[in-house]
C-alpha cells in the first residue's frame, strides 16, 4: 500500500495494521475494584482472587462481534479460554481511545485492526507477570514455567498454581516494558484463528441483554419528541394544553429538535404527543424534493468539479478511445433502519449528567453533551449499552440523539429516556447520501480498458464530523466524496474523479461502508458495461483490470470458481460478478439471479473475502452474510424519497427490507493471505448491488444505473 493510498484510506477509516501500541493505563481505572483483591495490570483485564477473569471492552457491540473478537485476542495471550471471560463495557476514558482518532469510537470496520496488537500485548503482559509471580514463589527461573488455561505450570510436570492464587503476588510486581513481554507465535495460537462461540449468545437468547432501550435507572421517565415534519423546519408555536391533560404526562417542553412530551411511561408520552398541537415553519425544506435535487444535480454532474484523483490523461484518452460510454448513475437516500430505533437516557442533576446509551461515539457524545449543558466533560458519565444495530447511524456526527436526551432531561431532576418511534427514526434523516454520477469511460481499439472519468454530486459526510476536520485539513479535500472510486483497485491507465459538494437541507451520514456502497456500485457497473462493450464477460474483463493485484485476483477467482462461473445454470438463472476493496478487505461476490417481469429473485450469492487473517472465521462468515443481506435489501427496494422537504417513507411497510423467504443461499469463502488485517463489518456490502445488477443485465439486457432496482424496473 503506497503512502498516499494509506493516507486516503485513513481518511475513511482504515488504520494500517502495525499501529504502535504502548501499555495504556488510565490512572483512575487502576487499583483494586473490590475486595479481597484483583490483579489489574492494565485498563483491559482484571483477574480476581476469586477465579474471575474480567475484560473491560472499550468498543461498542452492535452485532459485529467485537464483544467476542477482542476478548479472544486478549485471552489468547493471557492463555485463558475466552469463554471464561466476563465482559463489561468500559467507561469513557482515554485508555480506550482509538489509537489514531484519539477518541473512543467504534466504526469504520477498524476495531479489530486497531486493537489487535494492543489486546495481545495487554494479555501477554498479564501472563508475564503471573508467571513471574509463580517463579518468585517457587524460586525457579521463569523459563521453567508454562501456562495452561488460567494456570501456571512447571514444565517438568511439577507444581501448578491458578492465576487466581497468583493474582495478589502478581499485583505487587512492576508492569514490564513492552520489550520484555514475549508474544506467542501465530502457529501456537489456541483460540485466535479458530471458530469461537460468541460471548453474548446467552444474554441475547434469553432477553437479558440490556440495550439502550432497556435501561431502568430508578424513577426514570419516558419522552417522545414532536419532531420537525420536514427538514429544516422550526417550531413556530405550540399548545400543550391537551397534551398535559393526558394521564401520565409529566411535562411538555421545547428543545432544539422539537417539542418533548415527558411522561411516566412510553404509551402516555405517545398519547401526549398525539394531543400536542405544534405549528411549524417549514419554509426551509418547502422546495426540496428528490425530483428537484435530481434535476439540479444532473446539471452539476455535467460540469467540471473539484478533482479528487487524476491519473494519466482522461482528456486525451477520451479523444483516442475506440469505444466509449457516457452514462449517469443514481443512488437514493437510505435509512439505516436499525432494529432498535434511536434512543438515549439522561439524568441531569447538581451540575452533573449521567447518560445511558447505545452509541458508537462515546467520547464525542460525552463532550457534546457537556457543551450543550455548559458543564465540564469531567462531570458527564456515559454508560454504553448493547446497540440494537448501528450501521453508522449510532456514530452520529452531531451526537444528535444523545445530546437531545440531555436537553430533554435538563431541569427535570429525574432520568428521562427519550425514545424514537420507527417513524421518528426513518423520517429523522441522517441517511446515506443521495448521489448522482456522470461517468465517461472507454476502451482501446483492441478492447483494453483505457479510461474512467467520474463526476460525482452529493453532500459529503466526513466534513460534518469533528473527526473529519483534521483529516480534510491534511488531505486538502473531503475524501468521503470519492471513497471507493478514486481508490478503486481496477487498473485504469487514465482515471479521473471529480466532485461537486452539495449542501441540501436533508441530513446525511455514514451508512454501512460509507462511500463504498455508492462507488462500489458505480465503478463495478461501469466496468460491467465496458466488459460488454469489449465483448467479454464480467469475470474475464475484471481479471484483466486486476492483473497487477494478486490478492484481488485470488479473491475474484475464488468467488468465480466456487460459484461455478461459466458452468450451465438452471433455466432462467444468470450470474453477475463484482469486486470491491474497502476497509482493507477485498470482497468478490457472484449473484445468481432470475428475473420474471419486474420480479427479481436472488437465489444464491457466492462470496470470497481476503481480510488478511481471520481471527474468528465463523464470525467472518456471519459478517459477510450480514453485509450481503443489508446491501441486498437496499439494492432491491431501499429508497427514501423527499417531497416538499419531508421524507415519504416511514416504516417497514413502505421501506421494505429482506425477509426470511427472500434471503438467498449465501456461501462465504475466506481467502487467507499475508496481507495486513482488514475490516469486516462493512466490506461485504459494496459488491452485492453491482453483482445483482450485472446478473439482471445478463438475464434481460437491461442496465440498472439507478437504485433501487425496483425503481429502474418500474
Amino acid at each position: 500500500m503506497s503512502t498516499n493510498r494509506r493516507a486516503f484510506l485513513i481518511g475513511i477509516g482504515v488504520v494500517a495494521a502495525g499501529t504502535t501500541v504502548g501499555v495504556v493505563v488510565a490512572p483512575r481505572l487502576l487499583g483494586h475494584r473490590k475486595p479481597p483483591f484483583d490483579f489489574k495490570p492494565n485498563a483491559f483485564v482484571r483477574i480476581g482472587t476469586d477465579g474471575s477473569f474480567t475484560m473491560t471492552l472499550g468498543k461498542a457491540e452492535m452485532g459485529q462481534g467485537i464483544y467476542t473478537g477482542m476478548p479472544m485476542t486478549l485471552a489468547e495471550e493471557l492463555d485463558v479460554n475466552p469463554q471464561r471471560l466476563t465482559i463489561e463495557f468500559a467507561p469513557v476514558d482515554p485508555a480506550f481511545n482509538h489509537p489514531f482518532l484519539k477518541m473512543q469510537f467504534t466504526g469504520g470496520s477498524m476495531s479489530t485492526i486497531s486493537t489487535y496488537d494492543q489486546m495481545r500485548l495487554m494479555g501477554a503482559t498479564a501472563r508475564t507477570m503471573l508467571v513471574s509471580a509463580a517463579a518468585a514463589r517457587w524460586k525457579v527461573p521463569v523459563e521453567s514455567l508454562a501456562t495452561d488455561d488460567g494456570t501456571v505450570v512447571e514444565r517438568n510436570g511439577g507444581r501448578r498454581a491458578t492465576y487466581a492464587s497468583l493474582a495478589e503476588d502478581a499485583a505487587k510486581l512492576p508492569v514490564p516494558a513492552k520489550e520484555n513481554v514475549k508474544l506467542k507465535d501465530r502457529g501456537s495460537f489456541k483460540y485466535v484463528g479458530k471458530p469461537q462461540k460468541r460471548l453474548d449468545n446467552v444474554v441475547k437468547v434469553t432477553g437479558r441483554a440490556v440495550f439502550g432501550s432497556d435501561v431502568q435507572p430508578p424513577e426514570m421517565l419516558k419522552a417522545v419528541i414532536a419532531r420537525a415534519p420536514s427538514f429544516g423546519a422550526k417550531v413556530k408555536s405550540f399548545d400543550a394544553t391537551r397534551a398535559r391533560a393526558v394521564k401520565g404526562v409529566v411535562d411538555v417542553k421545547q428543545v432544539p429538535s422539537g417539542v418533548a412530551v415527558i411522561a411516566e411511561n412510553t404509551w402516555a408520552a405517545l398519547k401526549g404527543r398525539e394531543a400536542l398541537q405544534v405549528e411549524w415553519d417549514e419554509s426551509a425544506g418547502q422546495n426540496v424534493s428528490t425530483a428537484s435535487l435530481r434535476a439540479e444535480w444532473r446539471g452539476l454532474a455535467a460540469k467540471p468539479g473539484a478533482v479528487g484523483k487524476d491519473v494519466g490523461n482522461v482528456k486525451n484518452a477520451l479523444a483516442n478511445a475506440a469505444r466509449k460510454i457516457d452514462v449517469e448513475y443514481e443512488l437514493p437516500y437510505l435509512a439505516h433502519a436499525c432494529m432498535e430505533p434511536m434512543n438515549a437516557a439522561a439524568l441531569v442533576k447538581d451540575g452533573r449528567c449521567t447518560l445511558w446509551v447505545g452509541t458508537q461515539n462515546q467520547s464525542q457524545d460525552l463532550n457534546l453533551v457537556a457543551q450543550a449543558l455548559g458543564i465540564p466533560p469531567a462531570n458527564v458519565e456515559l454508560h454504553t449499552q448493547f446497540l440494537g444495530g448501528g450501521f453508522g447511524r449510532r456514530a452520529s456526527t452531531h451526537s444528535d440523539f444523545t445530546v437531545e436526551a440531555a436537553h430533554v432531561a435538563n431541569g427535570v431532576g429525574r432520568p428521562v429516556h427519550v425514545v424514537w418511534t420507527r417513524e421518528d427514526d426513518m423520517r429523522g434523516g441522517f441517511y446515506r447520501p443521495y448521489s448522482i454520477s456522470r461517468v465517461r469511460a472507454g476502451l482501446t481499439a483492441d478492447g483494453k480498458p483505457l479510461f474512467y472519468h467520474q463526476t460525482v454530486v452529493g453532500k459529503p459526510v466526513l466534513k460534518q464530523s469533528p473527526i473529519g476536520k483534521p483529516i480534510i485539513d491534511k488531505l486538502g479535500f473531503d475524501p468521503s466524496s470519492f471513497e471507493g472510486a478514486a481508490n478503486t483497485l481496477y487498473g485504469f491507465p487514465n482515471l479521473r474523479v471529480e466532485s461537486h459538494d452539495t449542501d441540501e437541507v436533508v441530513t446525511n451520514l455514514w451508512w454501512r461502508s460509507v462511500g463504498n456502497s455508492i462507488h462500489g456500485f458505480v465503478v463495478n457497473g461501469v466496468v460491467d458495461e465496458l466488459a460488454t462493450l469489449a465483448g467479454q464477460d464480467g469475470y474475464a474483463f475484471r481479471r484483466e483490470l486486476l492483473a497487477t493485484q494478486p490478492r484481488a485476483l485470488a479473491v475474484l477467482d475464488a468467488a468465480a470458481k466456487n460459484a461455478g462461473w461459466g458452468q450451465p445454470l438452471p433455466a432462467g438463472r444468470h450470474h453477475g460478478i463484482a469486486l470491491h476493496e474497502s476497509f482493507g478487505s477485498i470482497v468478490a461476490e457472484v449473484a445468481e439471479v432470475s428475473v420474471e417481469g419486474r420480479n427479481v429473485r436472488v437465489h444464491r450469492v457466492t462470496c470470497a473475502i481476503d481480510c488478511g487473517f481471520a481471527i474468528n472465521p465463523d464470525q467472518v462468515v456471519a459478517q459477510v452474510q450480514s453485509a450481503v443481506i443489508y446491501g441486498l435489501s437496499a439494492a432491491l427496494a431501499g429508497e427514501i424519497t423527499i417531497d416538499k422537504g419531508r421524507a415519504v417513507q416511514g416504516n417497514f411497510t413502505d421501506y421494505p427490507v429482506l425477509r426470511m423467504s427472500e434471503v438467498p443461499q449465501i456461501d462465504v469463502h475466506i481467502v487467507e493471505s499475508d496481507g495486513p488485517l482488514g475490516g469486516l463489518g462493512e466490506p461485504g456490502t459494496p459488491p452485492i448491488a453491482p453483482a445483482v445488477c450485472a446478473a439482471i443485465h445478463a438475464a434481460t439486457g437491461q442496465r440498472i444505473r439507478r437504485l433501487p432496482i425496483a425503481a429502474s424496473l418500474a
Partner: protein, 156 residues
C-alpha cells in the same frame, strides 16, 4: 386495574386499557426482553405468546388479553436451555440481538406445533420477523436444529 397472567404469574397493572401489551410488559412490568421495532406489527420484534399463539404485542391492547396466558422471552429461562435457545447458541445465530427475542418466540411457536418444519414452513412462520443484521440463514438452520433437539427428547 387490569390483571395479567404473565409467565405463569398474576400481575396487577394500572394502565390505559388501550395501552399496547408491549408497553405494559416493558414499562410497567419491567420485562424488557420483548422489544419495540415498528409499532405496526410489521417487524415481529415484539412477538410474545398469548395462549400459545405468537402475537405482536405492539398492536395488542392490554385489555384484550386480560384473561389470557401471556408468555414472553423471559419464560424460557435465564440459562438458554430451551431447545430453540440451545440451537441458537450452538449455531451462533445472534448478531446485534435486538430482534432475537421476537425471532425466538416465533420459532418456539413453530417447533411446538411442527416437529419437522420444512423451508416453506419456516418461511411462512418467520416472514413477519425482520432482522437487519441478516441472521436469517442461521435462524433457518437453528430452527431445524431445534426441532431435531426436540425430537430427540431434548438430548443433543
Amino acid at each position: 386495574m387490569i390483571t395479567l397472567n404473565v409467565n405463569g404469574q398474576s400481575r396487577q397493572i394500572d394502565a390505559d386499557p388501550e395501552m399496547p401489551l408491549l408497553w405494559a410488559l416493558r414499562d410497567l412490568l419491567k420485562l424488557t426482553g420483548t422489544k419495540y421495532g415498528c409499532g405496526v406489527a410489521a417487524c415481529g420484534a415484539c412477538t410474545v405468546h398469548v395462549d400459545g399463539q405468537p402475537v405482536r404485542s405492539c398492536v395488542t391492547p392490554v385489555s384484550s388479553v386480560a384473561n389470557a396466558k401471556i408468555a414472553t422471552i423471559e419464560s424460557l429461562g435465564v440459562k438458554g436451555d430451551h431447545p430453540v435457545q440451545r440451537a441458537w447458541i450452538e449455531l451462533d445465530v445472534v448478531q446485534c440481538g435486538y430482534c432475537q427475542s421476537g425471532q425466538i418466540m416465533s420459532a418456539v411457536a413453530l417447533v411446538e406445533s411442527n416437529a419437522n418444519p420444512t423451508d416453506a414452513d419456516i418461511d411462512a412462520a418467520m416472514d413477519g420477523n425482520i432482522c437487519r443484521c441478516g441472521t436469517y440463514p442461521r435462524i433457518r438452520a437453528a430452527i431445524k436444529r431445534a426441532a431435531e433437539i426436540k425430537r430427540n427428547g431434548g438430548a443433543a
